[in-house]
């Protein structure tokens, strides 16, 4: 036990590397990303354990190839395949997940249908921008494929970043608090005389922003545009976390971090198992607060929920969870695309239960309202 299997591999390469690479292939098939460096580590771990023992192989992989609790389930599934069916055989294809996120044809460039009407000069200028102007106020539900591509360009210019707050980290500054370390350090060069005093002050950084986007069936007309908003935020590199809400909660920050929006959305769709299903808002928000929010992600953050408030779960749960969330967060913003409808009243039980705990209630049905949202996230309305 614990000894190395007969060293048939050349010196240098871990003898177990072949097995490790085979397992790596199964893991990738199951959707877990593992780099070569990790596989080498796995092979080394196998050498130190008993590679003929199921549990040892299991733990060797768990410890070297998994780095997040969310991956454990996938790992377990892949391990079953690897161990039970032998590494030589290819893994069974996973059941295909139907995506409802559109992947616009790349060949369709943002259409510039500049109206060529001859009117007064001033009119012409306005007309030239008119497709954008129209697009800004057009309801997302009425968007064509081309218009989504155009939306992408608009979103790219939108700055999505939390309001600034003071960090605990101090940095050198021309004035502020006295900085004895740098002052004395400077004094070294001037014979121990502190000729110049140095200062430092708290660094200013944006608050964390957490976006929770409802991707259930009732939101289908809007979630494709709103997910692009999420992507624009995540890809801009701001301190931003993105989740999708359906029957369950899925963290999609990592998937959205890819710069290419279409690829990012594809990846995100791959991660969500509950697109266009029902919503259990209360449960999903509870999961968020339990697993992420309370641990710190929501503390002092701007939390944005993008949902129509239709909840198939218990409304009491939603109210309770919104209360918890509002206590943790700096600000809770609710974005409901239905709000723009004439005569809208928050009749959906979930919506009326949640509203008392919401600081800002916005519509989010067109680009202009997303600009409003970006301003609310940045506290631009209250600052100055």
């Amino acid at each position: 036990m614990g000894t190395v299997a007969e060293g048939q591999a050349p010196a240098g390469a871990p003898p177990m590397l072949d097995a490790a690479v085979a397992f790596g292939r199964v893991l990738r098939g199951a959707g877990l990303r593992v780099g070569t460096d990790r596989l080498v580590e796995f092979a080394r771990a196998l050498e130190e354990l008993d590679a003929a023992r199921r549990d040892d192989v299991y733990w060797a992989g768990r410890i070297t190839l998994v780095s997040r609790p969310e991956e454990i389930e996938t790992y377990d599934r892949a391990f079953e395949i690897f161990w039970d069916e032998g590494a030589s055989r290819r893994p069974k294809p996973r059941p295909k997940i139907r995506l409802s996120i559109p992947q616009p044809d790349k060949s369709v460039m943002p259409a510039k249908k500049t109206a060529e009407r001859s009117e007064s000069g001033e009119e012409a200028v306005r007309l030239r921008y008119s497709p954008v102007e129209v697009l800004r106020t057009k309801d997302f539900a009425l968007y064509s494929q081309e218009e989504f591509a155009e939306l992408q360009r608009l979103l790219a210019d939108l700055r999505i970043s939390g309001a600034l707050k003071k960090s605990r980290r101090l940095e050198p500054a021309p004035r502020g608090r006295h900085d004895p370390r740098r002052t004395l350090r400077g004094a070294m060069r001037t014979g121990g005389e502190a000729l110049r005093h140095r200062f430092r002050r708290a660094r200013i950084q944006p608050r964390r922003v957490v976006l929770l986007c409802d991707v259930s069936g009732s939101m289908a007309a809007y979630s494709r545009a709103l997910l692009r908003f999420l992507h624009a935020g995540v890809a801009s590199g701001a301190r931003l976390e993105a989740f999708s809400i359906g029957t369950r909660l899925t963290r999609i920050t990592r998937e959205l971090a890819t710069r290419d929006p279409d690829q990012a959305l594809r990846q995100a769709a791959g991660a969500m198992k509950d697109i266009s299903g029902g919503t259990r808002l209360g449960d999903a928000i509870k999961e968020f607060v339990d697993r992420w929010g309370q641990r710190g992600m929501a503390r002092g953050a701007v939390v944005v929920i993008l949902s129509d408030g239709w909840d198939r779960g218990d409304v009491e749960v939603l109210a309770e969870q919104m209360r918890r969330l509002s206590r943790l967060a700096h600000k809770v913003i609710w974005v409901n695309p239905l709000k723009s409808a004439p005569g809208y009243k928050p009749l959906a039980a979930g919506m009326s239960a949640a509203l008392p705990h919401v600081d800002v209630f916005l519509s989010g049905h067109n680009f202009e309202s997303l600009e409003e949202l970006a301003a609310a996230i940045a506290d631009a309305t209250s600052a100055r």
């Binding site: 190395v4 771990a45 040892d56 070297t64 004094a187 641990r295």
Partner: protein
């Protein structure tokens, strides 16, 4: 043979040749590790890799480092992370006050005619204050120390990037002094409560283990081991009640640490078994939020205890 492959040297305690041995060693020092955790620690020691531990607060992450230092009989060097922590707090700092005094003294004695030598003196090891990370690298006894980097998730990106560097090379470069390289890398344990996702690159440097709340039987064992004064019946009742509390929707579900606190409180009050009165009197040692206490009381303490009896009997 495997040790020679990389020139890495494991830091396993003598007489430990597989994970099972290590588990019993940990147990001798009052720590119960299940197979996965024991294997993770075993591999970390054997392969000389840092071990990254994640899990809810109170599942015993920090405890792993403490017990390891006892098992390995080496000092524990602890770096508690917090927002804004930087190199000066984590690695080293020049003792500016003493440096200034030194300059003044040199002036007074008139020995400062050679400025270069004075400068060399000023930036010598003598004036360097070492913080936990440097202490861990400089440690010079037969076996490397255990370096606990606690709550990495509280630090920020810059510091993470810096940790990555240190954990790759086990060396730091101090501009005025040069590079300080660990003779033997410390046994590094990193913990995170997952208040945020720690960068992948850092995790990739490490072996990873996610510690969960212990199972009922395991928790009873832990209680018996750590609070031997508690009777078996009480231990079972406490473990069952805690398990129940974890299933309730609490702000801060009790961890193992709370289970032990509670048991100790019960034992101190001479309790032989749980009843409503004693639970009411001691609830503060297991639930640390007023809302959680209130919620549990509203749900009915008798139900909690009554259920426990059913389970335990």
């Amino acid at each position: 043979m495997t040790e020679a492959t990389n020139g890495r040297r494991g830091a396993l305690p003598p007489g430990v040749s597989h994970a099972g041995d290590l588990a019993s060693r940990l147990r001798e020092h009052d720590y119960l590790a299940d197979e996965g955790l024991a294997t993770a620690i075993f591999l970390a020691l054997k392969l000389g890799r840092p071990l990254f531990l994640e899990g809810e607060a109170g599942v015993g992450k920090t405890e792993v480092a403490k017990v390891l230092s006892r098992v390995l009989d080496t000092p524990l060097i602890r770096l508690q992370c917090y927002e804004g922590i930087d190199v000066y707090q984590a690695v080293y700092e020049w003792d500016y006050a003493r440096q200034l005094l030194h300059i003044r003294a040199a002036e007074a004695l008139g020995t400062e005619e050679d400025p270069e030598r004075l400068e060399r003196d000023l930036y010598s090891r003598e004036f360097l204050v070492s913080r936990p990370l440097l202490q861990a690298l400089e440690h010079r006894v037969p076996s490397p120390p255990v370096l606990l980097i606690d709550e990495v998730d509280r630090s920020d990106d810059e510091f993470e990037a810096f940790l990555l560097e240190i954990l790759s090379d086990f060396a730091v470069t101090i501009p005025e002094l040069g590079t300080i390289q660990a003779e033997r890398p410390p046994v590094a344990i990193l913990t995170s409560n997952r208040t945020r996702e720690v960068h992948d690159a850092l995790k990739r440097r490490c072996l990873y283990f996610y510690i969960e709340h212990p199972s009922f039987e395991r928790e009873v064992e832990i209680v018996r081991l750590r609070v031997p004064e508690a009777e078996e019946a009480l231990a079972r009742q406490v473990a069952a009640a805690v398990e129940r509390l974890r299933r309730m929707d609490l702000y801060k579900p009790p961890g193992v640490a709370e289970t032990l606190d509670w048991t100790q409180a019960l034992v101190a009050l001479g309790a032989k078994e749980l009843d409503e009165t004693i639970v009411r009197a001691t609830i503060g040692s297991v639930l640390k939020y007023r809302e959680d206490q209130q919620r549990t009381k509203n749900a009915g303490l008798s139900a909690l205890v009554g259920g426990v009896r059913g389970d335990g009997g």
